[in-house]
């Protein structure tokens, strides 16, 4: 499934019950728009980490990186691309 679709489904299911996932467009502000609160942001990150097997750095858990479906996808794509076998990723220094 496409990253955006998975993210949309997760958000609809957890934060906008009864709203169809398709109603969340790519540019809809999720955090600044009040759909996801700060704790919701942490649970979203946990979901993204386990679903896409990536690890977030504290700095990436940020309103600007995660505010829209589009930006979330960009971040995941970047993380997946940067992941090489044998390289421990996302460890903080």
């Amino acid at each position: 499934m496409e990253i955006k679709t998975e993210v949309r489904n997760y958000i609809a299911e957890n934060f906008l019950p009864n709203a169809p996932a398709a109603s969340i467009d790519d540019a809809m502000p999720l955090i600044t728009g009040g759909v996801i609160d700060s704790i919701g942001m942490i649970t979203l990150v946990s979901f993204l980490e386990s679903r896409f097997e990536v690890e977030f750095m504290p700095r990436e858990i940020d309103v600007h990186c995660l505010d829209t479906v589009e930006r979330i996808e960009q971040l995941i794509v970047k993380k997946l691309a940067g992941r090489e076998p044998g390289v421990a990723e996302g460890k903080i220094q």
Partner: protein
């Protein structure tokens, strides 16, 4: 810990800066500020406040995250004889403005990058953060600052704004003496010294933040600031605790619980950690038992008290605590006097840590205080019972105040915020417990016309008007809100609907 002579919080810093000028006062990531630097920066800023015309007891709002600059601003405000008003920068603009107006702040210090902006709230003019001359304030300058601040220990030192049931946050005015009583007791009871590295992830607007900031000033301990972006990220928090070699920790139980559940706290050892204090909400027994078992060498203690009284009772976790029973809120602190209203079971708390009153709300202040045998007590609104060992047990609330992740919330404030939306005719808000997620807030909303407001719009309205922790988890659009025979909202009936939601039923009634 040597006994401090003064009752004034900024005098503690002056004294410690003279005794151990080179010792680290604040650590913020890679930035270390010594006591000398902290005092010089604060004194120099205080001088600029005074030059700008700041008078004794003027309010200076700190719309800042918990940073070195914010702590400099705290001591600068106090040195100048002003009252500091910490405001969380993540509050919605509307709420920040309301608080600035309510406390009639003379100055607002704001911005999340260096240097902060200092704005005159009346004229809009800005004061530079850094002194024009590069020379540090001279000792004579210090003296002139200090002579300006011959404050009385009963004078207000800070105002903490907390959720108000009528829809507006209310300001709890705390004096030097009130904060001092609590901090001195913790210093003595937990033997805090210059060897300690204290961490407290609570924002400055929380009474918990008086512990680290002022124990630093009193005892020469180091205040190690928790990076704001990891406060709710358990695995990074656990890493921080170990790498920063924290010796004393003070937080709400939710943060500790998160460190156990997702941060794998129990898998590591913390040889430096010797004191863990928690306050602000109920820490369920099993969580407390896991904590004490994971750090057997550390003293763990539950501190209890509303913002209006800071901490008034406490309970040290027994080393063999098994968590099968709730942990009591314990016995009174030596500076506190507590008693129970025999009829309602309400805990009444008085003593040195008591607030002066609510800012600009004489009627609320009067209602919240009661005089017994010539002593002033605050009505906590908390129902308690007495355990066999005469310690107090928390039973519940007498009103509609709830705690969520340690944040204090008046459900009435959420209702008032919702009702300010033009398409909302009526709103009722309830809280329910969800074993996994803790306190869940559900709002029942009756709108002007079907489809007048979407769920996304309603959530956006909450984000604009309420701090993030107050935003409802569920917003349900309903045709009617259940009322009892006298036309009062039937919160019990609404609670049953919400319980259904938490069991995974439909999210719409």
């Amino acid at each position: 810990m040597p006994e401090a002579e003064s009752d004034l919080l900024h005098e503690w810093l002056r004294r410690t800066a003279a005794l151990t000028p080179g010792a680290p006062a604040i650590v913020e990531d890679d930035r270390v500020t010594s006591f000398r630097e902290l005092f010089e920066q604060a004194a120099s800023l205080a001088l600029r406040f005074v030059e700008h015309g700041i008078q004794k007891q003027d309010r200076i709002a700190l719309v800042l995250p918990k940073t070195t600059d914010a702590i400099v601003s705290i001591f600068a405000s106090l040195l100048a004889g002003a009252i500091y008003v910490p405001i969380h920068p993540q509050w919605p603009k509307e709420r920040i403005e309301a608080v600035l107006e309510d406390c009639a702040a003379r100055l607002a210090i704001e911005g999340d990058s260096y240097p902060p902006r200092i704005r005159d709230c009346r004229t809009g003019a800005c004061i530079p953060w850094q002194a024009q001359s590069t020379a540090p304030a001279s000792p004579t300058d210090f003296a002139s600052v200090v002579s300006l601040s011959k404050a009385d220990a009963r004078d207000p030192a800070l105002i903490l704004f907390t959720s108000g049931s009528t829809g507006r946050p209310k300001g709890v005015v705390l004096s030097h003496r009130a904060v001092g009583a609590f901090v001195r007791w913790t210093a003595r009871e937990f033997q805090i010294s210059s060897h300690d590295r204290i961490a407290c992830p609570s924002p400055l607007g929380f009474d918990l933040s008086t512990f680290d900031v002022f124990n630093m000033a009193l005892c020469g301990a180091t205040c190690v600031l928790v990076p704001g972006d990891i406060v709710w990220m358990p695995r990074f928090l656990v890493q921080f605790l170990r790498q920063a070699r924290i010796t004393c920790w003070y937080s709400v139980p939710s943060i500790l619980a998160g460190m156990f559940q997702e941060g794998r706290f129990a898998e590591h050892e913390y040889p430096d950690l010797r004191v863990i204090l928690f306050a602000g909400e109920v820490f369920p027994g099993p969580g407390v038992a896991r904590l004490q078992a994971a750090v057997p060498q550390a003293v763990c203690a539950n501190l209890y008290g509303p913002t209006e009284t800071n901490v008034v009772t406490w309970c040290r976790v027994p080393f063999d605590f098994d968590g099968s029973q709730p942990l009591p809120i314990g016995h009174p602190c030596p500076y506190a006097t507590v008693t129970v209203d025999a009829e309602s079971g309400e805990l009444l708390a008085g003593g040195e840590s008591l607030m002066n009153g609510y800012w600009n709300r004489p009627e609320d202040t009067q209602r919240s205080f009661v005089r017994l045998n010539g002593k002033q007590y605050y009505r906590t609104g908390d129902r308690v019972s007495l355990a066999p060992d005469s310690s107090y047990l928390f039973v519940g609330r007498l009103d509609r105040q709830v705690k969520r992740r340690g944040f204090r919330i008046e459900l009435g404030e959420i209702e008032a915020a919702l009702a300010r939306h033009e398409d909302i005719l009526e709103a009722a808000v309830i809280a329910a417990e969800d074993g996994r997620r803790g306190t869940i807030i559900a709002a029942f909303v009756r709108v002007r016309a079907a489809g007048a407001l979407t769920l996304v719009e309603a959530k956006a309205h909450c984000a604009r008007t309420l701090p993030p922790y107050m935003a409802p988890d569920h917003i349900l659009f309903v045709d009617t809100i259940s009322k009892g025979s006298r036309g009062k909202i039937d919160y019990l009936a609404l609670g049953r609907i919400a319980e259904g939601l938490n069991r995974g039923n439909q999210d719409r009634s």
